[in-house]
């Protein structure tokens, strides 16, 4: 049995070691970020300010050697800057000296970064007020808007069936997603998985897979599945399903992670079995968030199903892209009108239902 003072001593050493390690880690992070900041600033200054505004070049030249030299210079400058412990990054990671220089650097450089980023963005997106307000452009806009506001009701029946298809694509994707996301969510809830190494491993692997799936937009899933199972509503449904499982599993597991520990402790203190604890103390706490997320997801899926239709996922989106391709703007007008009405209704219903739940 070790005594209290022994414990205190070793703890003290540990803390000292920990702070040293922490400082080094923070320094490395800060240096890397500073190098990036310097590199980024020089690049933007060179390309956006020097080439564009001073030399007024139309096409910006690019060479790897030049970029390499800038990068090399940034490594030296950035590291030196962090070393002085007055840089923006050293402040961000909490290792900066507390003096006037730091404050001034942070303030000036912060503003500098913000401004050059804005300017770079302006150039990259090729913002052009001339094309926005040219008379030709405005004429074109007039033509389209005029047509859109006089929708062609001749295709109303077809459009109605198409949007019903879209709603069902979204509904089926949401319904089928429930069991798999439920199952996965218990394995991606940290509070249930942290107790031993194997389960923690499963937790991390599943999280990585889910993050990967979620980072690919449904639009891209739809392109993949329209090749796999052929263009049509089925491809759209599977695309939505895959994305919905990944997203809902995350939301569900977050709900599981945020339950109150008190009831769980109280029920387990009565000598209840594991399954009874889950049934009486965990499930009642997560049921309503689960229901609410699912309804919200259906609402999102109706909107996404429309977009997915544009790349061959069936439903109203497919119809829209066809008429758009034929430049039949009156028909497009009707479709857009129908989509906005349905989306608005879905949005309203899902909001009201979720309100009623809580």
């Amino acid at each position: 049995m070790s005594t209290g003072s022994d414990l205190d001593k070793s703890a003290g050493q540990l803390i000292q070691k920990g702070t040293k390690l922490k400082f080094r880690l923070a320094f490395i992070k800060a240096a890397l970020l500073d190098i990036f900041f310097v590199f980024y600033s020089i690049l933007v200054l060179q390309r956006a300010i020097y080439y564009k505004f001073i030399l007024e070049l139309r096409e910006l030249p690019f060479s790897w050697t030049e970029t390499g030299i800038i990068f090399f210079a940034s490594i030296i400058l950035g590291t030196f800057w962090t070393w002085s412990r007055t840089s923006l990054s050293s402040r961000l990671f909490g290792i900066a000296k507390k003096n006037k220089t730091t404050e001034l650097t942070v303030e000036i450089f912060g503003w500098f970064l913000f401004n050059i980023t804005f300017i770079a963005g302006w150039i990259v997106t090729k913002v052009s007020l001339v094309s926005l307000f040219s008379s030709e452009g405005i004429q074109g806009a007039n033509r389209i808007f005029g047509a859109l506001f006089k929708p062609e009701f001749g295709i109303f029946n077809d459009a109605l069936f198409a949007i019903i298809e879209t709603i069902y694509i979204a509904l089926l994707a949401t319904l089928i997603s429930i069991p798999p996301s439920l199952l996965v969510s218990f394995f991606t809830a940290r509070n249930l998985m942290k107790d031993n190494k194997i389960s923690l491993g499963v937790y991390y692997i599943l999280r990585i897979i889910l993050n990967f799936i979620r980072s690919i937009e449904p639009l891209i899933w739809a392109i993949i599945f329209s090749v796999w199972v052929g263009i049509g509503p089925f491809a759209g449904m599977i695309a939505l399903l895959v994305h919905t499982i990944a997203s809902n599993a995350k939301l569900y597991s977050e709900a599981i992670e945020s339950i109150e520990a008190g009831p769980v402790e109280a029920i387990s203190a009565t000598g209840a079995r594991k399954i009874q604890i889950v049934w009486f103390a965990v499930l009642p706490q997560i049921f309503l968030p689960f229901l609410s997320f699912t309804i919200y997801r259906w609402d999102i899926n109706v909107r996404m199903a429309t977009v997915i239709g544009l790349v061959g996922g069936g439903g109203i989106g497919t119809m829209l892209i066809q008429y758009q391709g034929l430049a039949r703007w009156h028909e497009v007008g009707l479709i857009i009108l129908l989509i906005s009405i349905v989306v608005w209704i879905m949005d309203y219903i899902s909001a009201r239902v979720r309100e009623a739940i809580y």
Partner: protein, 253 residues
Amino acid sequence: MILRVKDLHKIYKGGTHALKGITFDVSEGEFLVIIGLSGSGKSTLLRCINRLIEPTSGTIEFVGKDITHVQGEELRKTKMQIGMVFQQFNLIKRRSVLTNVITGKLGALPSFTSIIEKYPGEVYNEAYKCLETVGIRDKARERADSLSGGQQQRVAIARSLMQNPRLLLADEPVASLDPATSNSVMLYFEKINKEIGTTVICNLHFLSLVRRYAARVIALKAGEIIYEGAPSSIDEKWFKTIYGEEAQEVEIR
């Protein structure tokens, strides 16, 4: 002796040494109160006794049986005999009062019947009896979170009564209630102790409540017992030792 605690130590994962060699006995039918500042180890001690957490070293003997390191089914059986009431009530908020009371019996009910919630008639009768003991039989059908704080704590007491516990632990049961309600809730603990004969160990903050209800007091400071005896002999000097020089006694009526 219903409970014997010997040289109990608890060191948490982070290195906090919460209990440093606690030794005391509790006899059948006693009303023992544990006092001390927040962080003195009161909650840790109670949680060790009903084995919500496992002590680092030392022994806990409950009804003549060493329960310090029991696991699995045996641990479950031990928990069934010890009731516990918490500061935050810890009820299932969206379920009825009756369901909450019945959860006290879960350990004795088969998994399947409890999950489909088809209980035998006598379970309901028992639940109603427990609610009657704490005087809220008429609230049985209401949702647990629609009740006031004092009523919720009484539901929690009824839930622990459902276990027919040999020992009832209460972790600052009145700390989130107003003074008047505190007193009425404490009266139910007294009633259970006197009428049913259940042994009670209760953590308390307020000395006036301690003087009124305790048969014996143990004071903890930084994980060690610094006082053990009758509540009446806690004078000004002891009070300062337990709660620190700055402390002043506040009267709660």
